[in-house]
């Protein structure tokens, strides 16, 4: 229990260090950047002094860390007076929802198709799965999104091509294509894990014994094979959270969902450094959390790891 948590704490701290370095050490003069080249030097100095940006770097890091521990991510450069957290928080919710739905859908697809593929075990199925998953992995998120829009929204008008209604109940259809686009990226990775695990499992003597005792195949599958696929599935899902969130950035922008990706793109456009920093930080901490959670879940699933 302790080791993964300690490790995650160190990683989390280093994520904070990296985002700090991103924002502070590289940036030349934030006051000049925000106020523009025509601003008076006094105004620039005043801006920097107000934000404490004229102090030594280590002192600034202390401030940054202290603010973070108090839950204060700073103030946006682009929208003066607005706290970064107020910009990032609603977006984080949308991105997290998108990621969660994608993980669930991908896991279901992977478990069903993966075990089916492991059980048929014919060359044709094997090649088909490898072919489809390789093609899916080679297709970048923006192209997948555009293809979905082209096929299902422009040509047939089955689903909305993008947008995000105010009312929560109406949002369902607007999530279908984004989740589908992200699933194309995640499901093949998980499918291969499940298939390989299931293939190993099916060779085991205890499966043969269970079948010999007359247990129905479905019960053998759900009670003996699938639980053993769950551990690796959880770990690989967590390992791919970063890739998933990267894809989400693109997908959110293409489909117009107000998630972290949209916030980040807007911040990149307006050089809103505190927001860029905050998005990187929040995403990094989220992935770290997912990794440690996956490790703990795996220990809970697989008693052999609890030593």
């Amino acid at each position: 229990m302790g080791a993964p948590l300690g490790k995650a704490a160190i990683v989390g701290f280093l994520v904070v260090v990296i985002t700090f370095v991103l924002g502070k050490a590289v940036l030349g003069n934030p006051g000049r950047l925000v106020l523009g080249p025509t601003a008076l030097q006094e105004a620039v100095d005043q801006f920097n002094a107000a934000l404490g940006l004229d102090r030594p770097v280590l002192v600034q890091f202390g401030d940054y860390l202290g603010d973070l521990l108090r839950g204060d991510l700073g103030e946006s450069f682009a929208y003066t007076g607005t706290s970064v957290w107020d910009i990032v928080r609603p977006a984080l919710g949308v991105s997290a929802l998108l990621a969660l739905l994608t993980v669930v859908v991908s896991a279901v697809v992977a478990l069903v198709a993966g075990t089916a593929a492991a059980m048929t075990r014919t060359r044709g199925v094997d090649y088909a799965i490898r072919g489809v998953s390789l093609s899916a992995l080679s297709t970048p998120a923006p192209f997948v999104s555009l293809l979905f829009i082209l096929l299902l929204a422009v040509n047939t008008r089955v689903l909305p091509a993008g947008g995000w209604p105010e009312r929560m109940v109406e949002r369902g259809p607007y999530l279908v294509l984004p989740v589908a686009a992200l699933t194309v990226g995640l499901a093949p990775i998980l499918l291969r894990v499940v298939r390989e695990r299931a293939l190993v499992q099916l060779e085991e003597p205890h499966i043969e014994a269970a079948l010999a005792r007359g247990l129905p195949a479905r019960r053998v599958l759900t009670r003996h094979v699938l639980p053993n696929c769950a551990g690796p599935l959880v770990i690989v899902t967590a390992m791919n959270m970063g890739t998933l969130l990267s894809g989400a950035v693109v997908v959110e922008i293409v489909f117009g969902l107000p998630g972290l990706g949209r916030v980040l793109a807007a911040a990149v456009g307006s050089s809103d450094i505190p927001v860029i920093q905050a998005v990187a930080l929040v995403a990094g901490l989220l992935v770290t959390l997912c990794n440690v959670a996956a490790e703990l879940v795996q220990r809970w699933i697989d008693p052999r790891l609890r030593s």
Binding site: K7, L137, L245, A265
Partner: protein, 302 residues
Amino acid sequence: MTDVDLRNLSLEPRASVPERTPGQRRRNKRWWRGLALERSVGVAVLVATAAAAILVPIISRHDPNALVAVPMEPPSPLHPFGTDELGRDLMARVFTALRVDLGITLATVGLCLLVGVVYGTVAGLSPAWLRQIMQRFVDALMAIPYLILVLAIVAIARTAEFGFLPAGIGAMVLALAITGWANYARITAAQVQILSQRESVAAAQLLGYSRVRIVVRHMLPSVIGPSLALAGSHAVLVAAAAASLSFLGAGVVPPTAELGAIMHGGTPLLATAWWISVFPGIAIVVMGLGFSLIADSRSNRP
């Protein structure tokens, strides 16, 4: 898993790294001997892609940046991929862009491989406390989703007073490399750590070989394999990331032809001129498939 194979019973801890002596490496150079169908297809696809990219001027008579026809003209014998939103020949642009993307991908993967293997080797040979810190740093770098980190680096580098990165392709390669080397370092460190406990390494030390010689001649040949295998799948990721970056408007500077940028140009016209977005998309998929097939055949090798 459950049954014990008596042949594998030994007092030595089993390591997963196949050991290769310098002589063996020479024999293994004849890599084409076990050439799987998958890999030959992958290599063929990549060679064809590269050839198309290099031979653009011969394949297409049009200048990729010149306005040669009416905007948004559908595919025709004169313009096989149609024309883009400004009336430039799309085929010339896609093949030119392929050259740009292939270059970005290879440069990034090369840089990552170099930095990652060096960092991983140093980490693997370091004392435990230092190795821990170096590995946690790698973990932290990998925790931040790469596209977010790349976007942040590009955005922040652009705003730096003297712009330490040039706009466009150079910035993209550097940002992609800064975020991409971590996985190589992680793998290499683990391999080096296992290998440094080998008897052959101890023997080499007893023979009085220098540290550098032991690392370069006795460890690196075995250590580099998994990193090379990773390079294939990493290339797919980099190609996608480069296209995504330009698609989001943070990559190349117009009018540079880049697959993601061309695709982005066609996005608002999807309903009327699908070809502008679809052809560059297909080009990325084909390039990615070439890399994927090679990576896959490597990882499936017995």
